[in-house]
């Protein structure tokens, strides 16, 4: 009896790795196919397009001439816009972090039984369209809207001041639209913090201020990193906010790429600009993750 069970157990352990490995591959397969079809192939095509002869057009067709000068052209022409985009995205990310951290902290530690209601409210904006919400900001921030009037009234704005079609409205729009992407990862990592650690810290002579900087903040870093990445990356490539809430002066790199692709039909330069944007973001992200010391995220 004993022997029979032990041989069965032995056979089972022999079999396990093989079947488990096969299951693993099967589970990866759908995603791998999806990524292959809709990421690897398009990315390859984007890379190829960025080296096409720029004198071609959609009508006449493009020729592969390994035209590396496309990259130099777009860098020379668009570096100020590129910097501005990263600046806008960076500021929006910072505002999201400050606003989002306060809210996520409140939901995680102070909300009590209102926790779930508040989380639903954070996600609620997603129930209406991104475009519609951004267009509403146009009404809210309009030159004679109540927000501008109220701010003029309390001298936060000069009498001829405006918000719409300025960098403020674009950054405000970006902050608004990406805030939930900051709040959710922040909440997830704050919520995991054992409140007994706060008690232990206060028992060990730390007031609430020191407890925050020595315990809460370091333990929430994975959420901070995830949230800032989820905000900064899409914000730096965004063009809707700049288009709807900004003038041509506030155009971001996303607007330029969109123009080049759809209006000008200059695929080669549009592709080169896209690749550069991607490279810059990847470099910044890698550097950032190194600095933040949260390699386990990768």
């Amino acid at each position: 009896m004993l022997r029979r069970t032990s041989t069965r157990a032995a056979r089972k352990t022999d079999m396990a790795p093989l079947s488990r490995r096969r299951t693993g591959y099967l589970l990866i397969l759908p995603t791998a196919v999806w990524l292959g079809l809709f990421f690897i192939i398009p990315f390859y095509s984007l890379l190829a397009s960025s080296l096409f002869d720029p004198t071609g057009s959609v009508l006449t067709g493009y020729q592969m001439t390994w035209h590396f000068k496309n990259y130099v052209d777009v860098l020379v022409a668009y570096w100020p816009i590129m910097l501005k985009s990263l600046g806008y995205a960076g500021l929006a990310t910072l505002f999201c972090l400050v606003l989002g951290y306060v809210l996520a902290y409140a939901i995680a530690f102070k909300a009590g039984r209102w926790k779930n209601v508040m989380l639903v409210l954070v996600i609620a904006p997603f129930f209406t369209s991104f475009l519609l919400r951004t267009l509403s900001w146009k009404l809210i921030l309009a030159d004679h809207g109540w927000v501008v009037n109220a701010m003029k009234h309390v001298w936060l704005l000069p009498p001829d001041g405006k918000i719409l079609f300025t960098p403020i409205s674009v950054i405000a729009g970006l902050t608004y639209n990406f805030l939930p992407f900051m709040i959710l990862p922040l909440y997830a990592s704050l919520e995991k913090i054992d409140t007994r650690l706060h008690e232990a810290s206060s028992d060990l002579y730390a007031n609430s201020f020191k407890t925050f900087f020595k315990v809460t903040w370091p333990l929430s870093l994975p959420g901070v990193v995830a949230g800032t990445l989820l905000t900064f990356i899409p914000a730096s490539g965004d063009y809707i906010n700049a288009q709807l809430l900004g003038s041509t002066n506030e155009h971001m790199i996303g607007n330029v790429i969109q123009d080049l692709f759809t209006t000008t039909g200059d695929y080669a330069h549009a592709a080169a600009l896209s690749v550069i944007l991607m490279a810059i973001i990847i470099t910044m992200v890698l550097f950032y993750i190194r600095r933040a010391g949260t390699e386990e995220l990768l």
Binding site: D194, S201, D203, Y205
Partner: protein, 377 residues
């Protein structure tokens, strides 16, 4: 405890300490307690008895509804936790997962503005045998090691009172026994007042100089472990601290320094100092290891009355044998017989005589619940 003595020393004094939660639950009922400086004090009781709430009020993590907490002449009742000369070893330790072991241990000193901590940390890690683990993170340590980190992290601050909230609860039995001895040694070495909260009676008795048994927000009885065990004053203490046979009887009266009780037809004598009832009915209590047993007709090595019964269960446990005996009046009595090798295990079904030395029995008030403090199955 005279007020002179407590003024001179730094005793921890709880006066009329009361805690009622907003939902109306009274966790601690007007508790008065003096814990002498330098002692190892255990608050023992089942879960929900108020022992942890008491501890948390001393730590400042819970606000008392009424009453005061003093250390010597210093009133700390409403001080913030970080302003009290008190540190806590938390249940499940609450170590900072993002800090190394030495950083965890240095945390308190650093927060009090001490720049150079390495020498003290080194000494504390040596005391708790953690020197090898200094650079590791808490998650890389075993349960016993984590427990010692929690202790080191609190002790390094040289608090006047160290609070231990079920510190050994998460350890397995063997490690727990080892840590009990270690904790006791460390307390001897550092001389700090230890207030230890536990539901494990053996742990409380092994380690503490004084044990206070708590039940439903009150202290049932307080004293040295041996006094509590040998002379419990309530059925709760008799059952919670070890096991007891409680047999109903009628008090006949006091004769000299003994109280006579008619117990199921047999009159037994109980020393007056161990009698906690004076008239009417009472529970005669006797610890199972004080009960002597022999097959019917064989002599028993004890003066006093013999009572007869039938063994219904015998469990051999190595050191001793545990018998369950059905007495003539229908009650089941428990008896532990030391395995001296004098006799084999008496099989179930055997008619036996039982007896005990009268000076080991105690008498409790029959108004008390006979099952109070018994572990629920």
């Amino acid at each position: 405890m005279s007020s002179m003595a407590s003024e001179a020393s730094r005793d921890l004094q709880l006066t009329a300490l009361h805690k009622e939660y907003p939902n109306g639950f009274v966790a601690v009922k007007s508790l008065d307690l003096v814990i002498p400086a330098g002692s190892f004090f255990a608050l023992l009781g089942p879960s929900g008895c108020g022992k942890t709430t008491t501890l948390r009020m001393v730590a400042g993590l819970e606000e008392p509804t009424a009453g005061t907490i003093m250390i010597g002449k210093q009133d700390i009742t409403h001080d913030k936790p970080y302003r009290r000369p008190v540190n806590t070893v938390f249940q499940n330790y609450a170590l900072f997962p993002h800090l190394s072991i030495s950083e965890n241990v240095a945390f308190g000193l650093k927060r009090r503005g001490q720049k150079e901590t390495s020498q003290q940390v080194k000494e504390m890690l040596e005391l708790t045998e953690l020197s090898e683990q200094a650079q590791k993170r808490p998650a890389q340590l075993s349960g016993g090691q984590q427990q010692r980190v929690a202790l080191a992290r609190a002790l390094i601050n040289r608090p006047e009172v160290l609070l231990l909230d079920e510190p050994l609860g998460a350890l397995d039995l063997k490690l727990r026994r080892a840590m009990q001895i270690e904790l006791k040694q460390i307390q001897n070495e550092v001389g700090i007042t230890f207030v230890h909260v536990t539901h494990d009676q053996e742990e409380a008795m092994t380690m503490a100089d004084t044990v206070a048994v708590m039940n439903q927000g009150r202290i049932e009885q307080m004293g040295a472990p041996a006094d509590l065990y040998e002379n419990p004053a309530t059925t709760f203490v008799a059952n919670f601290l070890g096991q007891s046979n409680l047999i109903r009887g009628t008090i006949v009266g006091k004769e000299g320094d003994v109280v006579k009780v008619n117990m199921q037809g047999t009159v037994v004598s109980i020393p007056a100092g161990r009698s906690h009832a004076t008239s009417g009915d009472g529970w005669v209590g006797i610890r199972p290891e004080k009960v002597l047993i022999a097959p019917h007709g064989e002599p028993i090595d004890a003066p006093g009355n013999h009572m007869s019964g039938v063994v219904i269960d015998s469990s051999f446990m190595g050191v001793s044998t545990q018998y369950l005996i059905k007495m003539s009046w229908g009650q089941e009595m428990m008896c532990h017989e030391q395995n001296t090798g004098r006799r084999g295990v008496i099989p179930p079904g055997t008619a036996v005589d039982v007896s005990w030395r009268p000076e080991f029995a105690f008498l409790l008030d029959a108004a008390q619940d006979v099952d109070a403090g018994r572990e629920e199955d």
